[in-house]
Structures are given as structure tokens and as C-alpha cells.
């Protein structure tokens, strides 16, 4: 048994860390945080050149043809660096939807463009409040055009194309939902940036008015495809969250070693030590659950639905916990704009919502565990 990444995969992780340490310093993240750029274009270009954007895309479609385990280790580093780029929208959501359901022509059109960094993609699922559910999909598709409003759409303002969930039936079942592919630059889609919790990753509202769209996958299969896409993205995001948790824990640990109060390193006080120990516990549980998710994802195992939900919950909790207590260890300085703690706090809490909130995933996990037990 080897429930771990291979030496090659670990090497890839080191390579990604080295690259991101150089190209994605907190200073670089702040350019986007301060609203001076919608995302880090140079970094995006660099990620493409490193082959990271297409690492899990087959060679036939312009990718590196490695696999999801390779993507997991890169995701971890993206999270650790708090990278201000549309990586999750493009790579975990749009590319995965294309890989699962795209026609050969669709894949040929978009996947090479993703791998080369020319195209940014996203998933347009949500329509205001609420978690992923076929009932919440109101945007309509008829005669090849879409009408309705999607928000929030992650990276919607900078995306070139979107996978859009639309209503194509009225039976009240999952089969009412179908997926469509929309070229956002071709007209018919009006995009508005939204103010959001984590400015290093934009959110947008997209209004579709008789917007031309082509089906992605068969009519009525949309929800089933989406479920698979969300499960895959849950695992990949979990790795970003694990990376972020580790970084927040390290920041807290380092500060506890450097900061002197009452004549001692604050890391010598048990109240502080124990808080950091608990952060380590959360981060470790999250990492282990995520590894199981990675195994299920990479082998396309029947356990993926359950493993993805567990990874999602565990990693979300860990990142929120570590980011929150990292600020606490820093005291007042942790609450300033100047210190980097809030960037992880923002990212942790934004990521906790992006694919559906904890409440949703808790519910999913129990459903999936029951299904497994019944089987």
C-alpha cells in the first residue's frame, strides 16, 4: 500500500512551490487585493508556461496528460500561495466539465486554449441565494439561446467562456437541467463585477439575453454532469484549502516564535501553544481526508462522492480554523491591512462558500454514506 503521492509528484509539488514563491509573493497578491488588476496576468502566463494549467488535460488536447494527482499537488501550492488567478474556475470547473461532457470539437476548441493560458473559463451555476440544487436553476434555454441571470459567478468578469446550467424541462426532477457552453465574448452576455469577500478572486453577475449557446452533454444530463464536476472540484479545492491551512499555521507558528511579550516568546505560553496544536490537528485531518479524495478522484472510484464530500468539509473547516486563529496569534497586528493574515482569512471564508456551503456538503455526505451502507 502506498497512500501517498509518488516521488515524481512530490517533486512536482516542490517545483510548483519554488515557482510560486518567486512569482506569487504576498506583494504580488496585494496588487490584485488592492484592485489594481483583476487578476495576475503575468502569473497566469507563467503557470501556462510551466504546464500547470493543462497538467490534467490529455496531450491530444494540448495538455501535459499527467493526471489528477499531479493537479492535486499543484492545487495545494496554489492555495498556499493564495494565488490571485482564475485557476479553480478554469481548471477545476470549466476544464473538468469539458473533459466529462464535451464533444470532440468542444474539447478541441477550449482545452488547448486553457492549457496555453489563452482562455479563462468558469461555471455559471448559482442564481442568488441558495446551494447547488436543480430547483435553484431558473435561467432558461430554448431554441439555442439562454435567458436569465447568474450570480455569483467566480471569475465571471475575466472569463472568456462559461459552462452554464439552464432549465430545459419542468418535471421537477434532476433531468430538467442541462448544461450549455457560452462564448462570453460573442455578445448576449452582460457582465458586471460584484464586490466580494475575497478581492483576489473576482465574482460577477452575468445577465444572459437571448445569448447564443451550444449544449454541453445531452439534454437533461446537466445535473448529473454537474454533480461529477462539483465532486472533482471539491477534492481539488480541498487541496488548495490544505495548502492555505498549512501556510496560515506556519505564519502563526513563526509569529509565536518571534514575538516577545511578558519577557517570553508568546509561543511558550500554553494558551498559544495549544491553539497552534489544534490548528495542526485540523490541518492534518484535512490533509488525510483530501488524500483519500485524491485517490478516489484519480482512480475514478465509486467512493468519490463520499470521499469528495468528506474532503470538502474537513478542508473547509481546517482552513477557516487555521486562518482565524492565525489572526488571533498575531493579536492586533493580525487585524491590520498591512499584515497578510487577512488575505488567508478572506480566502478561507470565500472558498467555504464557492462550491456550496458547509451545510450543503454535510447533507451530501450523510446522503452518500447512507447510499453506500444501503448498497
Amino acid at each position: 500500500m502506498n497512500f501517498d503521492f509518488s516521488d515524481d509528484q512530490k517533486q512536482l509539488r516542490d517545483q510548483a512551490r519554488k515557482f510560486l514563491t518567486e512569482k506569487c509573493s504576498p506583494k504580488a497578491v496585494r496588487v490584485v487585493l488592492d484592485g489594481k488588476a483583476p487578476y495576475d496576468k503575468e502569473l497566469w502566463k507563467g503557470l501556462a508556461e510551466m504546464g500547470f494549467l493543462g497538467v490534467a488535460i490529455p496531450e491530444d488536447f494540448g495538455g501535459a496528460g499527467a493526471g489528477h494527482l499531479e493537479l492535486c499537488v499543484i492545487a495545494e501550492e496554489m492555495g498556499r500561495a493564495n494565488a490571485p488567478v482564475p485557476f479553480s474556475s478554469t481548471v477545476y470547473l470549466a476544464a473538468e466539465a469539458l473533459l466529462i461532457a464535451g464533444s470532440d470539437a468542444q474539447k478541441k476548441k477550449w482545452l488547448p486554449a486553457i492549457a496555453s493560458g489563452e482562455a479563462i473559463g468558469t461555471l455559471a451555476l448559482f442564481e442568488g441565494k441558495g446551494n447547488p440544487s436543480p430547483k435553484n436553476v431558473k435561467l432558461t434555454a430554448a431554441n439555442g439561446v439562454l435567458n436569465g441571470v447568474k450570480k455569483p459567478v467566480a471569475d465571471g468578469a475575466i472569463a472568456d467562456f462559461a459552462v452554464v446550467a439552464a432549465r430545459t424541462g419542468s418535471s421537477g426532477r434532476d433531468g430538467d437541467v442541462s448544461l450549455f457552453l457560452v462564448d462570453l465574448k460573442a455578445g448576449g452576455a452582460e457582465v458586471k463585477s460584484l464586490t466580494n469577500l475575497d478581492p483576489t478572486r473576482g465574482q460577477a453577475e452575468i445577465t444572459f439575453r437571448d445569448c447564443k449557446a451550444e449544449p454541453l452533454g445531452a439534454t437533461g444530463e446537466g445535473w448529473s454532469i454537474l454533480t461529477q464536476v462539483l465532486d472533482r472540484a471539491a477534492v481539488l479545492c480541498a487541496f488548495e484549502q490544505v495548502g492555505g491551512s498549512d501556510r496560515a499555521l506556519e505564519m502563526g507558528r513563526d509569529y509565536a516564535l518571534d514575538r516577545i511579550a511578558f519577557g517570553r516568546q508568546i509561543g511558550s505560553f500554553q494558551a498559544v501553544k495549544h491553539m497552534l496544536a489544534d490548528m495542526y490537528v485540523s490541518a492534518t485531518l484535512a490533509r488525510s481526508n483530501s488524500y483519500y479524495g485524491a485517490w478516489a478522484l484519480s482512480t475514478n472510484a465509486g467512493e468519490l462522492p463520499e470521499a469528495a464530500a468528506a474532503a470538502r468539509i474537513s478542508a473547509t473547516q481546517a482552513f477557516q480554523h487555521c486562518a482565524k486563529n492565525n489572526i488571533q496569534v498575531h493579536g492586533g497586528m493580525g487585524f491590520t491591512w498591512e499584515f497578510d493574515c487577512h488575505m488567508y482569512y478572506r480566502r478561507a471564508n470565500a472558498m467555504a462558500l464557492g462550491l456550496g456551503s458547509l451545510t450543503y456538503w454535510e447533507d451530501q455526505l450523510i446522503d452518500r454514506m447512507r447510499k453506500k451502507n444501503a448498497a
Partner: protein, 415 residues
Amino acid sequence: MNFDDTPQEAEFRATARAWIGANAPKQYEEELRKSSLGRTQLKNANILEVAKAWQKKKADAGWACLHWPKEYGGRGSSPIERVIWQQEEGPFGQLSRMFIIGHGMCGPTMMAFAREEHKRTYLPPLASGEKVWCQLFSEPAGGSDVAGLRTRAEKEGDDWVINGQKIWTSGAHYSDYGILLTRTDPTVPKHKGLTMFFLDMKSPGVEVRPIKQASGASDFNEVYFTNVRIPDHQRLGEVGDGWNVSLTTLMNERSAIGAAVSTGFPELFEYCSSLMLDDGPAIEDRAVRSKLANWAVKASGLKYTSMRAISALSRGERPGPENSIGKLVAGSMVQDVATYALDLQGASGVVSGSEDAELAGRFQAMLLRAPGTRVEGGTDEIMRNIIAERVLGLPGDIRVDKDVPFNKIPTKGRG
């Protein structure tokens, strides 16, 4: 990344499985499978006898203490083979509980510090379960602060004379031997005046008194020593080096207990899957599902953390520090799980003799036993210190008694 055995591992697993299938005491399988924290007895048999019989059978066939060298009663197996054996032994592994201290702590300490002839004499019957061992470290004045112990050992000729009291000694009431940490020099700082021995628990002057626990059961004891004589050749390590010797034991204790501790989650999930609440099945209830999901990911997180450690063993590497979280997470979790299971029963959760007696009793027993899991083998607070200091590299606690002669350390908090 995979969960597959190597060909050698698969072969070992098949051999182990075949032997267990042919030899395990199957009549107890169901009952052992259903045992949970606080409820580990057998209804119609003495678990001590069943456990000893199973251990002896394993030893006779070469399946006891797998990772020990053959000459001391083991099999000379690799660490990964030991894990595979545990996986295959399944519920019958519950029968090893009474040997955990002896096999996990006393044995390794003897192996590291006893004379060769003693190892050959004492270790094989310890491996086979014919002799049971206990560990005599904690004292009324030395719990988390083990080095604060006061039991005296004084040299008289070739013997040492022991006077004092130990406490929280698991299984002392059925133990044949024990390893004993004593103070041989109270005039030097506390860690420097300790010496370790092993002794026959039937020695004159040893008195074992069971402690009635908060749960009503008695797993632990007080042990009193009155002029007990131990020959010098039963000393483990140098005089004054007992602290270092004890660290060998304690490191083994934490990993051994961490591996066996239960979370209560499978029991709770099973219970909620059939429980009806006022508004319908418990498992359909939003609040219940949220609680279950949160515990589910802790339980799976622990499971896969241990898989990562096992993978390191399989590669022939030393596992990382991540396994140190096991006891800390499981200890408070099992307590919370038990509390919640009773909460779900409403007022009737308080009664053990209702129509749900079987289940209510199970979670009540768990609840009442749980506080102990957060204390034994290192309290939650000590475990957090260990993680903070050894894993995260934070400074050790400031020890005001570090350079003070032991007999000058204050013994009373007030007055």
C-alpha cells in the same frame, strides 16, 4: 497512490487470514465486534481467560508479538506485517487489550535495558500472555508531571528496598510483573534522581487495591509498596537514569494507546440510522446530519492519517508526527458522541433499563468511561504540548523546578 498490498504483503495477509480463520474463537466474534468504549466484557465468559487462551494459541503458532525478535517470543516481522496482522485479526484484536501495556511498553523497555538472561526468561511468557505485565509510573503526586514521583528505592546490600505508592496502574490486579520507576536520590533535581526496575508483583510488601472509577468499573489500581525488596540485577538502566529509560516506555504508550482508541462514530451512525425522533427518522433531521457529518470527517480523517503512517511503514520509513493527533482527537470526540447519543433519546436517555436498554446502556457506558481516555497515556493538555513542541517546534514550558533539588520543591499549593 494506492491501497494495494505488495506481493509479499499480500502473501503475508493470506497466510495470516487463513490461520485466523481456522483458529480464532469465533463464538465471541459478534460480541467482540459490538464492544465499545466502556463496554468490553463478555456476557457468558471471563474475557481475561478468553484473551489468555487466544494469546497462547497465537504464540504457539508464532503469531504473538509479531514485531519482536523470535528469541524473545516474537516473529521477527516487519512493522507493516504487524499492521496487516492487526487488520486481519479484526474484532479478535479486542482480546489483546489486557496485553497492550505489557507488549507495547514493558516489553520494549525490557528489550532495551534488561540483561540478556532476563530477556530470555521473561519476554517469551509475556509474549504468549502466560504472564501479564503492568507499568508502575504514576503517583498521587506525579501524574502529568511523572518525574515528580516520590516512591523511594534505597540500596541495602545487593537489594533495593522500595517504599511508596503508585496509582492508575492498569491491570495491576491481574499482573504477574511490573516495571517500576522510583526515586533513588532526592537531593538532585527531579529528572536526575530516578531509577527503573522490574519486579514480581507477588513480592512480599506489594499490595494492590482496585480504584472504583467514576464509571463504577475498576480497570485501574493503587499499588502500595512496604519494604519490598528488588535485587539489583532487576534494575533497568543505570542508577539515576530512570527518566531516560521511562521515555522509551512512554513513547511506546502513546503510540500503542493512540492506535486502539475508539471514536464512537460507527456506533452513533448505526444508532441514528434506525432511531425515530418525534418528527421522523433521526438520520433525516438536519441538525442530526450536521453533527454526524462533522464527526464523520474526524473519524475518516483519523483513519486516513493512520493509513499514511502505515504507508510510511510499508516503504520501510519512519512514520511522520501526524499520528500523534489520534488520541487527542478521538478522546474528546468519543465523549461528545456519547453525550449526543443520550441527548437524542430525550429524558429517557438517563435510564439504562428502558426498552432501549441495550443502546442506552451502550452510550451511557461510553459517556462514563470517556473522561478517562482524555487523561490516560498523556492528558489532552500534555498531547497538545507534545504536538506544539515536537511537531511545531515551539518552546518548552518554563520549568521552575528544573534545577532545584527534588527535596526542595514545594509540595503544597496553599498553606
